[in-house]
Every structure is written in structure tokens, then in C-alpha cells.
């Protein structure tokens, strides 16, 4: 799973980036409001924080914010091309590659619309996943993901939920 491949390199990536560093290869920095017109949503990044998105011409699915070594927030969207049919099925598919985890499911919301939430502890790290399925264009998933460590959990959850409160859907292009 990519997450397992990604996490070992994140500390080196983040620690090697000075404050004024350029975005990693294939990405461009994001500040302020991130708008995704292809999948119809926008979020406002916290003051003083920046994220990255894929550089064109790679597809633009969302924004990632590196909070620190192995601490990441991702806000992404994609079509339901795997034909999963529900937010819960999406969450189960995403977590299916993890072993030995205990997952807690709950109800949540994005832009005042119902969403599913799952919290899990994986390899000593806390993961939170909020997913909403919008029934347009064959189905679109909006996904908010936080992975952090126990020491930063409270702080990072505040940032995560603050960011989610700025999430707004927009009409999809025709």
C-alpha cells in the first residue's frame, strides 16, 4: 500500500525541506484557498500553512498538507470508478490493506451533508478518515484523511477538523 511506502520517506522529505523550500518534484505549492473545479470542492488552508497538489498536466485530485514527520492531512476527491457505491465501502477498501488495526466507525459531515468517519490505530499512528459520496456523475467521493502520532494527536485533530469546517462543495462542470 502506498501509505506504507510513503511514510518511511516522509520524515526525510519534510526534514530536508527548509521553510522556503520548493514543493517536491511533480507538485506545486498551495496557499490560502484550494479550489478543485473538476470535482467540485474547495477548502481554506489554515493561516501560515501550505500544501501541495499535483503539477499539471497530472490530474488534480486534491491537496496534501505535511504537518511534520509522518504527519499528513489529505483532502481529495475522485469518481466512484471502482463502483464501491457507498462511503463505508470506500473506507473499508482503503483500510483493507492495513493489518491488526482496530477501527471505530462514526457519522460525520462535510459541508453539512452526511459523511462516514473511521478512526484507526495503525503501527502506533492514529488515522482518521472522513468520506462522503455524492451521487453525481456516476458517483464522486470526497475524502479527508489525517495520519499523525499520539504526541500530536490533539493538535493535529484540531487542524484537521478546522480544515473540514471550511470544506464546501461546488457544482461539477457539465
Amino acid at each position: 500500500m502506498t501509505r506504507q511506502l510513503l511514510l518511511p520517506i516522509l520524515p526525510a522529505l519534510v526534514l530536508s525541506m527548509p521553510a522556503s523550500a520548493q514543493a517536491p518534484v511533480g507538485t506545486v505549492p498551495v496557499h490560502g484557498v484550494y479550489t478543485n473545479s473538476e470535482y467540485g470542492f474547495r477548502v481554506r488552508l489554515p493561516n501560515g500553512m501550505s500544501g501541495v497538489m499535483s503539477a499539471p498536466p497530472a490530474p488534480n485530485h486534491g491537496v496534501r498538507i505535511d504537518l511534520g514527520p509522518a504527519r499528513v492531512i489529505e483532502i481529495t476527491a475522485e469518481f466512484d470508478a471502482a463502483l464501491l457505491g457507498s462511503a463505508r465501502a470506500f473506507i473499508d477498501a482503503e483500510l483493507s490493506g492495513e493489518h491488526g488495526i482496530k477501527t471505530h466507525y462514526s457519522h460525520s459531515s462535510l459541508d453539512k451533508q452526511p459523511a462516514d468517519e473511521a478512526s484507526a490505530m495503525v503501527d502506533g499512528q492514529d488515522e482518521t478518515l472522513v468520506v462522503q459520496r455524492r451521487d453525481v456523475a456516476g458517483g464522486v467521493f470526497y475524502r479527508a484523511y489525517l495520519i499523525t502520532d499520539r504526541a500530536h494527536l490533539a493538535q493535529d485533530e484540531r487542524i484537521f477538523h478546522g480544515l473540514l469546517s471550511t470544506f464546501h462543495e461546488q457544482p461539477l462542470p457539465p
Partner: protein
């Protein structure tokens, strides 16, 4: 119409239309690149929700920018990893999982839709 054990169509119209439109476009590209065509079909299904936005021009644009990265690739893991090196879906750590599911769906529906 062929149906599965739940009585649902084994080849839904969206998938049937997708293969009818995309296989003729993608097969020559996959041959040029020496790449497994199902991988490119999966990426198209993922990005365009099973072909809601089929444009030959768009595919040629993709081949120009990313074709070399997937040249001679036959498996989904290498395909995704090579695209990732170019920043493909860099904001989404779940990308590999989802694309793999779509790839499996493409292989399954290609069979049930009897795509030659």
C-alpha cells in the same frame, strides 16, 4: 442479456459503452508503448468515470506527457509507481489502492462484456 447470480447485468451499459469507445482508442497506444492495455483502460475509467469524457486528443496528450513513464509496463504496481514519480496523484496516499480496484474491475468487465 447475460446476468450474474444477483440477476444484474454482467455487462452494464456504462461498461459496455466504455469498452466500445475506449478500446479502439487505447489499444493502438498500448501497442505503441508495449504496455498492458488494461492498465491504461483502468486509468481512463478512474479519471473519467468510465468514459464520460472520451476524447482522442486527450489521450494523445496523455501519451505525450506520460507514455515514456509506463512504456513496457505490464503490472499495476509498476504502472502506478512510475506515474507517482512524476507527481501523479501526489496528494492521495490511497491512490494505489483505488486504481488497483478499478484495474480489477476493468479486467472483470472486459471478460463479462466479451471484449476481444
Amino acid at each position: 442479456m447475460r446476468t450474474n447470480k444477483y440477476g444484474m447485468s454482467a455487462c452494464p451499459p456504462a461498461q459496455k459503452n466504455f469498452f466500445a469507445t475506449f478500446v479502439p482508442l487505447i489499444r493502438p497506444m498500448a501497442k505503441r508503448l508495449g504496455t498492458n492495455e488494461d492498465l491504461i483502460l483502468a486509468l481512463s475509467a478512474f479519471e473519467d468515470s468510465w468514459g464520460q469524457d472520451a476524447h482522442n486528443q486527450k489521450l494523445h496528450y496523455w501519451e505525450r506527457h506520460f507514455g515514456n513513464a509506463v512504456r513496457n509496463v505490464q503490472d499495476i504496481s509498476t504502472f502506478t509507481a512510475n506515474l507517482r514519480k512524476l507527481g501523479y496523484n501526489s496528494a492521495n496516499s490511497n491512490y494505489d489502492t483505488t486504481l488497483n480496484l478499478v484495474y480489477q474491475a476493468v479486467v472483470r468487465y472486459k471478460k463479462s462484456c466479451a471484449v476481444k
